[in-house]
Amino acid sequence: MMNGEEFPQISTLEPGKQNVRLKAKIVSLQQRKIKNEKGETVYFYGILGDSSGTISFTAWAFPATIQSGDVVEIKNCSTKEYNNVNRVYIDSRSEVVLRPGEDLEVKRTFRELKIKDLSTTNPYVSLEGRISGVMEKEMERDGEKQKLYYADLEDDTGKIRLTSFGRSLKEGESVRIEGAKVSEYNGRLRLTINDKTKVLSTKLQYTITERIVNLADIANPIGGITVQGFAVNLGPKSGLVMRCSQCNQKLDDLRCPDHPDAPFVYDLFAYFTIDDGTGHLQCTGGRMPLLPLIGLSPDDFVPSNKNISRRGVQSLLEEKIPGRAFVIGGDVIKSQIGLSMRIRDIRPMDEEFLKTFSRMLEADFQ
């Protein structure tokens, strides 16, 4: 179906088309730098919308003057399926022209996704899950006091931080959310709901248990998962860390430059790569998960204990980590080095886990 100026509607776009001409509103626009052997390249991506729906786009060049919210005409773009989703591609042959003063009503379309598949590439989503860890905070917005709710939302594939402006969240409730927005903050994904989002109480059709994931299947920052594998190295900067007891700053010397009289405390940090046969992932952990692994209690791990030394802690990490098979629970985050895991808990491989793991693998052949 064409509109007044013979532009195809977004909902009618089919994959594999060339020389497509479109009129659309830029719903979102972001850019990303990629480094490869040829050097550094910038590309743009975002969402286009019109009254029939929305579609993601990728552009290898994009006019600097055009911003999110503008209505544009795009000539000579193409459409192609990527990860089973149709996208618009804008390349050097395409032309993006601003339509000043025009506005377009955009019909929001939300993809139905599991938490493990969430990414900022498809920011408007519908999903189901169970709410836990609700906290509330009061904030001022446009001169009015408003309540802000934080919680975790989890399904059978992962966990994500949920933020709600004004709408209360109920601890333990299973909900269906339509029209939430996915964004990224400090390398982690989060989900935001506002007054336009539908939140309906529902009954989940699955049980939430330990979410065991193959490393090859981790494509996005995802929380609350369990991975397993052999640790194949130990980062050279892993070991005992000294921190100021007042400001928690890491100390190179025994004195904090800002609080010279404050005593120092011990902390622990380790990073290593795990390999599970399907892929590999860097894991980083701190004092809480690592102290039990190296056989020290928090009471032992104090500066007054003369048996604790940098070299001793390094030796314990070397003895307990490289070459060992582990089951690791935590959250995957995104940083400059790519995806890595923040360890919440780590334990040596055990028979109980193997039983569950075996059932999971065997299910593939049934």
Partner: protein, 273 residues
């Protein structure tokens, strides 16, 4: 600085390496070692393996070690040069009969048309039974899925990775299957599947006497390295890896002898008939 992608470490059985006859030169990197293309289509330059140490020969400048899994032997070499000294220290700390996990670079050399494989260890650590079971579970699962993908690929005249992905195989499995179908169209995957299936259970214990018997017989058939017969110690190590006790190994060897499947060519050395 341009970051280099970490070389994938393949979890493979000794037999998958031993049966490999195809090398692929890497033209992108100068002086790079070739990839080994295995019968299951894996394109390997690094492996992560487990097994029992059956032989160790440590000299000042070099340590050689033989590692046996339930399907055959891996040969490891570490030198005391700048690049290999850590590997040599690790190998030197291990003793015969230790169960170990090794990650290392797979190197090849050819002589009279035959390819020989060697592993330069980057990490070699003694492991416990549970870790070994875990490795076996995962490695057998990987091998079985690849075998199923290869069979699916062989049903098509010109299999593509995309077709296999649509059937539910991962990108890696699909690419391996296409490579295997191209390079080893006549490879018998049934034997490998039988070994992998036997090691799939959490106890890594093949069920039933027949599976154990087949494992031992298969090992004797395929591991007569010097033509003087397969060594009892190697059979025992391979069988122990597959959670078969020494008593059961002795019984199986006796039965195979009585059935005319094998004979003891010299003291504690066996040949298949």
């Amino acid at each position: 600085m341009i970051s280099r992608k970490r070389e994938f470490a393949y979890w493979v059985y000794a037999r998958e390496i031993r049966d490999s006859t195809v090398l692929e030169e890497n033209h992108e990197e100068e002086r790079a070692k070739p990839y080994v293309i295995t019968p299951l289509g894996s394109k390997i330059r690094r492996v992560l393996i487990t097994g029992r140490v059956t032989q160790k020969n440590s000299e000042e400048n070099m340590t050689k070690m033989t590692l046996a899994d339930s399907t055959g032997n891996f040969y490891l070499t570490a030198f005391s040069n700048d690049f290999g000294s850590q590997g040599k220290i690790m190998l030197d700390s291990l003793e015969p009969n230790d169960m170990v996990m090794v990650m290392g670079r797979l190197t090849t050399f050819q002589n009279e048309g035959k390819i020989y494989f060697n592993i330069n260890p980057e990490i070699a650590v003694k492991i416990d039974d549970t870790s070994l079971k875990y490795w076996n579970l995962r490695a057998s699962h990987i091998a079985r899925r690849k075998i199923f993908a290869i069979r699916a690929a062989l049903k098509s005249e010109s299999p593509t990775s995309e077709d296999l992905r649509k059937m539910g195989y991962t990108e890696e499995e699909s690419e391996c299957a296409v490579r295997a179908a191209k390079n080893y169209p006549d490879y018998n995957t049934a034997d490998m599947e039988s070994v992998a299936s036997g090691l799939q259970s959490p106890g890594a214990t093949p069920e039933g006497d027949t599976v154990h018997r087949e494992l031992v017989l298969d090992y004797v058939r395929n591991n007569d390295e010097d033509g003087r017969g397969c060594r009892y110690e190697d059979i025992l190590a391979a069988a122990t890896n597959a959670q078969i006790s020494q008593g059961e190994v002795d019984e199986i060897l006796n039965t195979l002898g009585s059935d005319g499947e094998i004979f003891e060519v010299s003291l504690k050395r066996y040949k298949a008939i």
